[in-house]
């Protein structure tokens, strides 16, 4: 029983990481159908931001808290810049954005290598987050993983509130649902796109801050997560927050249970097979926007 509980907690924490990364993606993917491969590098930017801040702020706890908004703005600005420079020109060719942003991600990785060096760097976790909580029954929960879980849920909440309650959120939803109709209703879709990219990429930066607690910080760290995060978006349904939340946790738990009963590599393969099987049942993902389009 303890094993099962501990293993599901591992799964939930894997899910939380996936969710943090997929949140931003589902937003940018849903908005323009753009596949942003540089999203992983925005995560990296967030992680390096934490690293740099920790060098100037001695208290690990303070620097982590400062890093959250700073990383959001840094990564968000990079995303908005990318949208302005490249992605808006590719609006009619969404598939090509995958390759273009992959080129960008190559350059950003090399930039990180030139600035910070190729080897991974490390940050110090605040004392509060290094220990474990044992609620009894042999269960141990790592504080850092609880923090990430909290961070992910907080991001979901914030994003939901923005999308539901603010005028910007209404505009974003309008553009996702029907771009042309939004355009003729007087919404400046170009501006909305840029703001969407700012928020989506900013969330990647926040994810990067969270990841410094559980893994190394290096130029290729984004690549490790990006494909898994895309799978979350695909299974959840493009542009559907609800779908991403459910899928991230489901895939996280599935992955960790399979890893326990088989090996890491076999688990990956089985998860992929499960996803393809799932798409037989729901080709458009868990949740879909009702549209009148044929495809």
């Amino acid at each position: 029983m303890t094993v099962i509980l501990n293993q599901s907690f591992t799964g939930i924490s894997i899910g939380a990481v996936l969710l943090l990364i997929a949140l931003g993606l589902t937003l940018t993917f849903g908005q323009m159908g753009v596949i942003n491969m540089a999203h992983g590098e925005f995560i990296m930017a967030g992680a390096y931001t934490t690293y740099v801040l920790q060098k100037s702020i001695s208290s690990a706890g303070v620097s982590l808290l400062v890093a959250l908004p700073v990383a959001f703005v840094v990564a968000g600005a990079m995303g908005a810049l990318l949208e302005w420079l490249l992605i808006r020109r590719l609006y009619t060719r969404p598939l090509d954005t995958l390759l273009v942003t992959w080129g960008v991600s190559l350059m950003l990785q090399q930039l990180a290598r030139d600035i910070f060096g190729a080897p991974n760097v490390q940050t110090h976790a605040p004392d509060l987050l290094t220990g474990n909580i044992s609620p009894g029954g042999g269960i141990t929960l790592a504080n850092s993983r609880l923090f990430i879980l909290g961070l992910a849920l907080l991001c979901v909440l914030a994003l939901t509130l923005i999308l539901r309650l603010t005028p910007l959120g209404r505009r974003i939803r309008a553009v996702v649902q029907n771009r042309d109709l939004a355009e003729v209703s007087g919404i400046a879709t170009g501006q909305v796109d840029r703001m969407t990219f700012f928020i989506g990429s900013g969330l990647a930066g926040v994810a990067g801050v969270g990841l410094t607690l559980v893994g190394p910080i290096g130029p290729t760290m984004g690549t490790n997560y990006i494909v898994d995060a895309f799978l979350v978006v695909v299974v959840g349904g493009i542009g559907q927050l609800k779908g991403s939340v459910i899928t991230a946790f489901a895939l996280g738990v599935l992955q960790s249970v399979l890893e326990y009963s088989t090996t890491v590599s076999v688990a990956k393969v089985i998860v992929l097979v499960a996803i393809v099987a799932f798409l037989q049942w729901r080709p458009q993902g868990l949740y879909t926007l009702r549209t009148r389009s044929l495809a």
Binding site: R89, V100, I238, V266, V269, L272, L279
Partner: protein, 368 residues
Amino acid sequence: MTTTTPTAVTPASVPLSERLRAPMGFALGAVLLFGVAPLVLSDFRLSLLAKYLCYAIVAVGVSLAWGRGGLMVLGQGVFFGLGGYAMAMHLKLADAAANGEKLPDFMQLYGTGDALPWWWKPFADPAFALAMTVLLPMAVAALLGFLVFRRRVKGAYFAILSQALAAALSIWLIGQQATTGGTNGLTDIQGFFGYSLDDPVNQRTVYFIIAAVLLLLMAGARQLFVSRYGELLIAVRDSEERVRFLGYDPANVKIVAYVIAAGMAGLAGALFVPAVGIISPALIGIVPSIGFVIGAAVGGRASLVGAVLGAIAVAWAQSTLSDAFPAAWTYLQGLLFVVAVGFLPGGLASLGALSRRRTRNRTTGETA
């Protein structure tokens, strides 16, 4: 999906010079590959060229599936790997048998017992192994294509799934070290159907085989492009709904293109093994899989010759520049991608057509 490219139909009204262009190009390619290259290149450079030509073979399939069919095939590494591993497994077994041993060297090293894994056994048979290099990738592609295209899974979904497949295969291969060689892959392959690969003469023969396969596949692909099926493939790319309303099943059209491209990638992988002497997960994961698409994109995805030349040029630039200036090459590679795909979707092959159109417009006084 609105990239329009001039289709390569040749009705009888087309002037003779236009109709002769393809056979002439084919002859020129044959002269360059079989006459000029072996004469002017050293043995070392010729074997490098053999490696690039393997990438070019993958590019023929990419041009078919992506350029003509609009299917973004980001997982060609999977098929390249399946073909490569099928060939390498046979060659490893043959090497072991030649040395009077029952197991390939790496299996003895990792000490996994003295029995050959059951799924290795059939590959001792050369005919089976050769057939598998093409049939295995095609079968996997057919299965995935059937599952994905039948359910009308959208373009972006397909790209991501095919990419995830590449990641999964390379992770799985790394995980099964005892039976697949793990991260190292299958290395140190010495013989090729009884001929020693250390002998430069045999290396040359391998080069000639690869060059011949490339030319044959290009000729075959061109025939396919101008056929009724080729027309249908472009129609599916540009307007899938209309094709469906006309009574065709776009899923079948896509599956065929995907399966053929997979077979070509498998064959390329199989030929890569004797040319380079190694196959490993690092050659087939996400990054190399995207690499297979880069060359075709830069050269011109919809133009067969453009895709092939692009693949060769990018592979050449990669191995020349990445050794001398690794950092600069990464920036250049990224930039090449951004510029080629973002601003020149037809690739370098479309530059000629663009400038021709511009001069024609200038002479007739039209604006572009």
